[in-house]
């Protein structure tokens, strides 16, 4: 009897020891695996971030020595009407751009996942705008949106619709830039395509045995398996859209009447045209906080709709 108890204790102790040995090995391996990233994080992100937040509390203008000004830059943010305007413009761009971008990318990925002859050529065609140099792309869109000679208004006349001032009308210019962004779905499309290719075929086979229709196969098999890729795209698209810059810089330069003045374009002007590094750094940190809060909310709700096969196993 006592022998049995002793044996049981010994086994339990051995099991505990073995468990903690695995645990210890995992802890060590985990840190070895992430070591390159961790070092890089401190050298190229955390360090510069600390530098940047220090600058936000100064009046540094590059040519003059920085003075500590306390929260003056942050207080000024809330009194600056252009901050409000640019935040509003950026929000409109995000709300209109992100969902439509993801929808078209998903549509394109589903089409390009079809097993058809010559599909590689189509994949390359769909990807082309994503790799076309920006200068060429922007000039093309200036021409497409040209009020008198542009392709966009030519299409409208075919349907007997009145001409639209795509880039001159303050009420429309943001929508025009959203439309232009649809041409760069290539990046998201590739991620979704990789995700689609990773859907195990046995799930489709099982669904077929159950007599599932194509729609229900998409909704019950493809979509859940694709949610990690969709979550990735949504996160990145939100972060990217809040930092929209190049289109408004090259094509509209924020106009007309600041109606396409996006936040990062304003930040760029403050930093590299007014050289007000202190205010620009404070602006960068405000943007960072806004995006951080939105992303945290998104992560909070992720477990409601993002499906990881691995979760089932643990």
């Amino acid at each position: 009897m006592t022998e049995e108890v002793a044996e049981a204790t010994l086994v339990a102790a051995r099991r505990r020891r073995r468990w903690s040995a695995t645990r210890w090995r995992d802890a060590r391996d985990g840190y070895i695996f992430i070591l390159p990233w961790l070092l890089g994080f401190f050298i190229w992100t955390a360090g510069p971030m600390v530098a940047s937040i220090s600058i936000a509390f100064t009046d540094w203008r590059i040519v003059t020595a920085p003075h500590f000004v306390g929260f003056a830059n942050f207080v000024a943010l809330f009194q600056d009407p252009r901050i409000r305007t640019s935040l509003f413009n950026t929000t409109v761009y995000v709300v209109l751009g992100v969902p439509t971008h993801i929808f078209f990318a998903l549509l394109a990925a589903l089409l390009l996942n079809l097993k058809l002859r010559g599909i590689g050529i189509y994949r390359t065609l769909f990807y082309l705008p994503y790799i076309t140099p920006l200068v060429a792309n922007s000039l093309l869109w200036l021409w497409i949106f040209n009020t008198n000679f542009g392709l966009a208004n030519w299409l409208l006349t075919l349907f007997h619709l009145p001409a639209v001032y795509w880039l001159q009308d303050p009420r429309i210019v943001k929508e025009s830039l959203v439309i232009m962004s649809w041409w760069t779905i290539g990046g998201q499309m590739v991620i979704l395509l990789a995700g689609l290719q990773g859907v195990p075929r046995h799930l489709y086979d099982a669904a077929s045995i159950d007599g599932a229709t194509r729609w229900s196969r998409f909704w019950n098999v493809t979509f859940p398996m694709l949610t990690p890729s969709l979550f990735f795209n949504l996160t990145l698209a939100l972060i990217g859209a809040f930092q929209v810059f190049v289109q408004s810089y090259v094509i509209t330069n924020g106009g007309p009447e600041d109606s396409s003045l996006f936040y990062v374009l304003y930040l760029y002007r403050v930093a590299f045209q007014n050289f007000d590094m202190g205010y620009a750094s404070a602006m960068a940190w405000l943007l960072f906080l806004v995006v951080l809060v939105i992303t945290l909310v998104q992560f909070r709700f992720a477990n409601r709709w993002v499906f990881y096969e691995a979760e089932l196993k643990r």
Binding site: F33, W37, L38, S52, L116, L128, V135, L267, A284
Partner: protein, 296 residues
């Protein structure tokens, strides 16, 4: 009512091919939609190509002329004379290869740890990783430049390649981690049962299963480094180190821009990327490997 044996029922089903499911529409309709979409999406590139073959002075006629006449093939040799294309291409290849290999190795390592290894502080560190994505580039631009100039790395390829070997970018880590999460734990556990440690699981199991995601990371990294303008502009000031993207600026002068030559150079610059994408997209198909392993 007796049901038919399972085997028969399965055999009666249409065989699902490849990674995709059966077309949602007829094959003809699919081709029609693909062709229309392809033409619409390719318009910017077609315009680039068309302008690169136009005589100087005819590039902005209205209504736009899609087919240049006559075709000015001479723009291409002329562009090559303006820019030392081959030596800039060599510089660009060196940077792109070094940065891409670094990103593949170190991003996949971090992604593996975040997806599969339990270690203290994992969630916090992962949140830190994600939060770096939210940081506007403008925040770190100036401090980074000061750091690299203190290290005497200006006019070397080090600022453009070394950071890739330190984690390969949060974007790539996140992408690979998401992909690893879709690979069933069964496979890990079977391998660990056979005595495999973390390194074996990473190297012999997850990496071979993740070819589609690794290909995607490689493509993103190659395109980013190949087309990057801002970083080479900041860190490379001597012409012998220039990349192709920097070379494009030679067609812009204070007074005018040689659009046709610039577009010809652009075509030559992105042609290798297009070929690479066309070849690499086949590897996405290999995602099918996920099936048929460990009794799945």
């Amino acid at each position: 009512m007796a049901e038919a044996p399972l085997e028969l029922r399965v055999r009666a089903l249409p065989v699902s091919r490849g990674g995709g499911h059966a077309p949602v529409m007829g094959v003809g309709a699919a081709y029609l939609v693909l062709t229309l979409g392809g033409i619409v999406l390719a318009l910017p590139f077609l315009w680039l190509l068309s302008t690169s073959l136009k005589l100087e002075g005819t590039e902005f006629t209205f209504p736009p002329q899609w087919l240049p006449s006559p075709i000015a093939w001479g723009n291409y040799p002329a562009a090559l004379q303006t820019v030392p294309y081959l030596s800039y291409a060599r510089n660009t290849i060196i940077i792109t290869v070094a940065a891409t290999v670094g990103a593949l190795v170190t991003a996949s390592m971090s992604a593996f740890a975040f997806a599969r290894v339990r270690f203290p502080g994992r969630s916090v560190l992962f949140l830190m990783l994600i939060s770096t994505l939210m940081l506007p580039d403008a925040v770190t631009l100036v401090p980074k430049y000061i750091l690299f100039s203190k290290l005497h790395w200006i006019n070397t390829y080090l600022p453009l390649t070394v950071p890739a070997w330190f984690g390969g970018g949060a974007f790539n880590v996140f992408l690979l981690r998401q992909f690893f999460m879709t690979i069933p734990y069964d496979l890990d556990e079977a391998a660990r049962m056979d005595g495999a440690g973390n390194w074996r699981v990473y190297w012999s199991l997850l990496l071979p299963l993740s070819k589609p995601a690794l290909t995607a990371v490689a493509i993103f990294s190659v395109i980013y480094n190949w087309n990057d303008f801002l970083n080479p502009l900041i860190y490379l000031n001597q012409q012998q180190y220039f990349t192709l993207a920097l070379g494009l600026q030679f067609f812009q002068s204070e007074y005018s821009t040689q659009w046709t030559l610039m577009m010809a150079a652009s075509v030559m610059m992105i042609a290798p990327i297009i070929v690479l994408f066309f070849l690499a997209q086949r590897f996405f198909i290999e995602g099918i490997q996920l099936t048929g392993i460990a009794g799945r």
